[in-house]
Amino acid sequence: MNSAAHLAWFARHEIRLAWREWLAMMTGGRRRRNRAVIGLVIFAVVLHLPAYAVIGRFAGLQFPLDPSSLLVLSATIFLSWALLLSQAIESVTRVFYARADLDLIMSSPVQLTNIFSIRIAAIALTVTCMALLFSAPFIDVLAFLGGAHWLAGFGLVIALGLSAAAAAITVTVWLFRLIGPSRTRLVAQIVSAVIGAGFVIALQVVAVLSYGTLSRFAVLTTDTAARIAPDPDSFVWWPARAALGNLDIMMLLIAAALVLLGLVMAVFAPRFADTVVSVAANPAVAARGRSRAFRGGSRPQALRWKEFLLLRRDPWLLSQSLMQMLYLVPPALMLWRSFSDSSTAIVLITPVVVMAAGQLAGGLAWLTISGEDAADLVATAPLPPSRVIRAKIEVVLIAITVIFAPMIAALAFASPVQAAVTAIAVMVVTTSAAAIQLWFRAQARRSQFRRRQTSSRIATFAEAFCSIGWAATAALALTIPIAAAVSGILTLMVLVAAWKISPRRG
């Protein structure tokens, strides 16, 4: 096989691996390719409805736009890029550390620079394809309602995907150089988690501090923002103009992204091998625990102690919790502001807190109930399974209480009734999340946390609908109590339906 044929063969291999990995994520590791594809097509079709609801009214936009609209559009594009960057950092980190085939590749008689260039290209391709997949319903809706010029959005998405992949590789390699391979994995995970949410949260924080609202677009649509916005011809607006159908700019952005990716490949592909070798040569520094006397206590106490210790030492959870905590910053600021004025907007805090609690409880419940690394040990321990489960659920409830109690206590000073409603809703949403995890539990290793949402689609949707449902119920309980009853009943019905179709019913 000549060199070009070799590379083409390796590129095919990379694409096949990426496809299978993606398929495994979509099907939870089960071999249901046809069902996954059909499900995906249905999902993509259904996604056009929320896309229409969210973006349909903007289909008439044409360049030139007013500064506020340009700002909102550009911020949305930047947010999408940040999310792609977050996804790309995750992919790059996985390539470095999930070394199932790296030993084989590096011991084979091939030019490593070429091989790693293809691997970098494969990352870029995967990120771009995912971006195209999720943006397609939005662009379709805009093109259908506003004209074919919106199809240029696909070109913009390609440019965003390629540039995000290039930036992700740069960030990850830079982290390697800066903090070493043993810490990069954890830091990259946290960076990737924070980047995705950071931009929106920053906008919300500024909005809360300046205008007393949680709206992320409030800052962008103010006169001040419009005044300081650059001139309409500025290159800052190029992505927005490309999205609006300027083909020249779109081609320019794609070309720039390709050049950037090419540069990254040229600079980093030769160093990829060194980086991989340094990961292998510098295994994580063995963290040491404190030596102390064994503690006494009951068997469930031993279980709870173990769960808390593992949660505390779990980098995945650390980054996930950080995300949840970040989402709580804007409502916390809002609460702080409400002490000085009697704004009714404080009611918004309740659904945000309940949603955050629901999401965090879902993750915690998966880690404690399904993510058991020593499942055999716990199963052969002399205590009934019901006590094991009870201890694990208690851990979730205690953790959520510890995290959310300070905020609810602060809320009690501003509005005792709202604090009571929020506290009840947090407990209900936590119990719901734990119950769903219990009904749909599938034993897995904690390291598979990233894939927890693909192991059962029904559980994922039930968890999300319950979080939204209980958040809405709590907010409505404070404003329109009758509507809260309806919302509560609907959410209960979701929960009952999940139980009815769960494999562990009874």
Partner: protein, 250 residues
């Protein structure tokens, strides 16, 4: 006069997956015995032991551990049993001492006693330099030793091990074998599956050979040789002959 119960009495144990994995198996292991369960891949050894340990529910049959009906009173049976699988399942984020503390807590062992036992066990397995190091960087052999120490920390009367020597270097394997023999001398019963026939030959008081979910031969090494009709045969030759005969009959 009531006879002393067996360490393990299995009667008519049956488990089907897509085909019968364990087929009406009868097995008796005496107290204080080192029993090696041999068999080719897929013979039903692990399934049998998982049912005994309470990890799998049998389709039919009974399991009695030191006179306790393990299906009727699993908690009491588990209190005196330890299970070590071939794939060491420990927590990466705990240190060996923390892991043993957790296991001792689960079995309700007095902490003042379990702490000393834990340290002794880990030291005897050559892990003294790693007592307070998290297990995430441990090799498979080290993890296996931690798992084994965990199984012994609550002083079980029946120890069930599924391929415990897989992945261990010669020195570690010797440590483990020494520890198990020490336990047997102290009156504990050990049931172990292994593909290393030399280990079974040297260590086991009795050997059972299982194929297609059924016990096809059982006895001391001498008894097995007698059954085979050749006194100079190695266990390996006997094992292959038995399995081949069984496969031909099937």
């Amino acid at each position: 006069m009531t006879s002393e119960p067996s360490a393990l009495a299995v009667r008519g144990l049956t488990k089907r997956f897509d085909r019968p994995a364990v087929d009406a198996l009868d097995l008796t292991v005496r107290i204080g015995e080192f029993y090696a369960l041999l068999g080719p891949n897929g013979a039903g050894k692990t399934t049998t032991l998982r049912m005994v340990a309470g990890l799998l529910k049998p389709d039919a049959g009974s399991v009695s551990i030191l006179g306790i009906d393990a299906l009727d009173d699993p908690v009491a049976a588990k209190q005196i049993t330890a299970w070590v699988s071939d794939e060491p399942m420990i927590y990466d984020k705990l240190t060996p001492l923390e892991y043993l503390e957790f296991v001792a807590g689960l079995w309700g062992v007095d902490p003042s006693q379990s702490e000393m036992t834990a340290r002794d066990l880990l030291v005897s397995l050559g892990l003294e330099r790693h007592l307070n190091e998290r297990c995430e960087g441990f090799s498979k052999g080290m993890r296996q030793k931690v798992a084994l120490a965990g199984a012994l920390v609550h002083d079980p009367r029946l120890i069930i091990l599924d391929e415990p020597l897989t992945g261990l270097d010669a020195l570690s394997a010797r440590h483990v074998k020494g520890l198990l023999q020490e336990r047997v001398r102290a009156g504990c019963t050990v049931i172990m599956t292994t593909h290393i026939l030399e280990v079974a030959e040297r260590m086991a008081d009795r050997i059972g050979v299982i194929a297609a979910g059924r016990l096809i031969a059982e006895g001391t090494l001498a008894e097995l040789r007698q059954q085979n009709g050749r006194n100079d045969t190695s266990l390996e030759d006997m094992f292959i002959a038995l399995v081949d005969t069984e496969a031909a009959a099937a």
